[in-house]
Symmetry: C2
Subunit: 428 residues, 2 copies
Amino acid sequence: MSSPLRLGIAGLGTVGVGTVRIVQRQAATLRARTGRDIVISAVSARSRDKDRGVRLGDYAWEEDPVALASRADVDVFVELIGGEDGPAKAAVEAAIAHGKHVVTANKALLAMHGQALAVAAEAAGVSIRFEAAVAGGIPVIKALTEGLAGNEITRVMGVMNGTCNYMLTRMQNDGLAYDEVFAECEKLGYLEADPTLDVGGIDAGHKLAILAGIAFGTKVDFNALTIEGIERITIEDIEQAADMGYRIKLLGVAQMSGRGLEARMTPCLVPDSSPLGQLEGPTNMVVLEGDSVGQIVLRGAGAGEGPTASAVMGDVCDLARGLHIPVFGIPAAELKDTVKSNRETPSAYYIRMELTDKPGALARIASVMGEAGISIDRMRQYAHSSDNAPVLIVTHKTAKDALDAAIRSMPETGVLASEPVAMRIESI
Amino acid sequence: MSSPLRLGIAGLGTVGVGTVRIVQRQAATLRARTGRDIVISAVSARSRDKDRGVRLGDYAWEEDPVALASRADVDVFVELIGGEDGPAKAAVEAAIAHGKHVVTANKALLAMHGQALAVAAEAAGVSIRFEAAVAGGIPVIKALTEGLAGNEITRVMGVMNGTCNYMLTRMQNDGLAYDEVFAECEKLGYLEADPTLDVGGIDAGHKLAILAGIAFGTKVDFNALTIEGIERITIEDIEQAADMGYRIKLLGVAQMSGRGLEARMTPCLVPDSSPLGQLEGPTNMVVLEGDSVGQIVLRGAGAGEGPTASAVMGDVCDLARGLHIPVFGIPAAELKDTVKSNRETPSAYYIRMELTDKPGALARIASVMGEAGISIDRMRQYAHSSDNAPVLIVTHKTAKDALDAAIRSMPETGVLASEPVAMRIESI
């Protein structure tokens, strides 16, 4: 039996408490699986007095996470504070400087500072592990860096913000407007303090940036992403997409071509019969595509005490067993700069607009599309009581440039009664 | 850069050739990810002359896989011969005896001799890795032994024989009889030489035995499984189950209770809207449930050159990176004997039968059910042209004993025109 692995846990919110609970409840199982005792030396959080419903009396208490990360009796610093800067970053840097391994659930920290931290960690000979940072309990980082290590990854996709998927599902199933569902989520505490992190696609974008870096061997670069949130999705979009056989998802897609990295976290249409289309509620799903393995789909809870703590402890067990691999799968010094592709892979698109109810209106729009070289798969005009007719178009595969050009020309027809809304139909 | 990791590959069928292709095509990527060159020293197969469409001239050739496994220039013996005994077993034993790590895709070998091989490997200080043995390219062994290492696993389920799922899907979607689809699969080469391995549930049972051992920390014990194939599934079963909102799947379920291990590979009904219900064609799906993580669903190709070779190479990369964990996640000496539960967890059941078209026939069957203490959820009698009326019953949750007793009593009613067929409705 090797010596115990000693944890210092900073941050005792939901995930921190969940991690403490697993260490306590599964002590015998963890020992059997790793050959070592896994123990907690010290913890840290903002308030010492709060009742968290878990025994903490056996552990040293540190006010300052940086002090915790520097303690001689800590082998692994578990960072569950959150936030891309501030105490989380300072404490992780301190841990690395003191030769401690780091386990973190902090996607923002890794998306913004992952490269610098990886360089520092690898120079210090320590690991940073972060399974909990992406898609909660789903072991997707492990699948990508280890299980699929024999593959050239061709595409990564994912629904990775449970709140957004819950909101879209609720709109779809209950015919509610965006604002109603947003208000409900705010009341239920489903949204981050700054809700833009959720509904603006930032949180999910952080996760996609991390996955893209690992998948393609490039430096994690959040700024290379195209991000659009779900704030503009209407119940009409959802209902009309459903009518065409699609679901709207806040979907992350990353792929690499000769032009560079194409990475988007945007609302997309997916076929309603696909695994992504059928994903309801706050569940997460990640799709990994490799040249040998084909398509792998992973589904599970993307947040919450148990699932996220499960991911943290998976990393802790790896460290206890002596697994040390480069932070992002290959040494940080060998990661390439991210070149952002200047063109999106052609795709089918869904376009929604309202037209004035004049003879020939539809024909004028169709001819604008034709002039831009866009071929139309399906076009539907809906019954209407107002003066304006809702119109839906599904195109065949087309270049984004051509689509943008067509949409720019549409006002010239004089028949538009609303600004057209276009969404990509992701082929999956 | 560490020294190269040298492979000896025995068996150059689909998976062996796929593995050679990855080693050749991804040499640079494998080096970046593992920090070492991964090279092939020697190969072995039945026929040396066959054109396999891949360069083999650089590698030493061994007629005998045991000789290959014993070579001084081999660090990892890759066993892709197959079969639970014979050359595969002899060669794996030789590799262990000579201090080589083993990577294998051989589920039968592990299901029947896994415990003895694990004891030998751990005594010799080498690893046996077998991601490719279960669910092809899906990294499920890694998820279970590593990613979810902080969990007490509560249940494992899986559709793990692609041919059976293809057959059931084809029957469902095209209204074909079992025999027609079986003949088609035979012609297309989708079936093992002994088709009972597929349609009898043996192959999928081997995989479930391995998963159950890992999940519950018990010795892999194929004989503790209840196995039933799909040979008796009729198109009527499939259509009537669909009419009730279910799909029929050859589903493996393993769970542990105070009574011991309950492990079945049998045809089951699952809700048509669930991920398992929606799994079509030869794709595999594994569902892992843990006390912290909740439910994780993994989906991907369960067979084929690329996916299986991807799993083999994932294991090879782990060995190259120095990951060595016990064969079944905890040391073989600590694995408990498998105690087979003498009772199945209560469940809803689907029962199909034909009744003679006499007044009161349905009432008599219903009263037999009532006397056995079984409460009926739904009962349906179908329109019929013959003398006999097809009847379907979906029960509420009931003990298997009660169900068996009711079915035993049914002939006494004198209204049965066919033997009742009962299938479990798995709650998922």
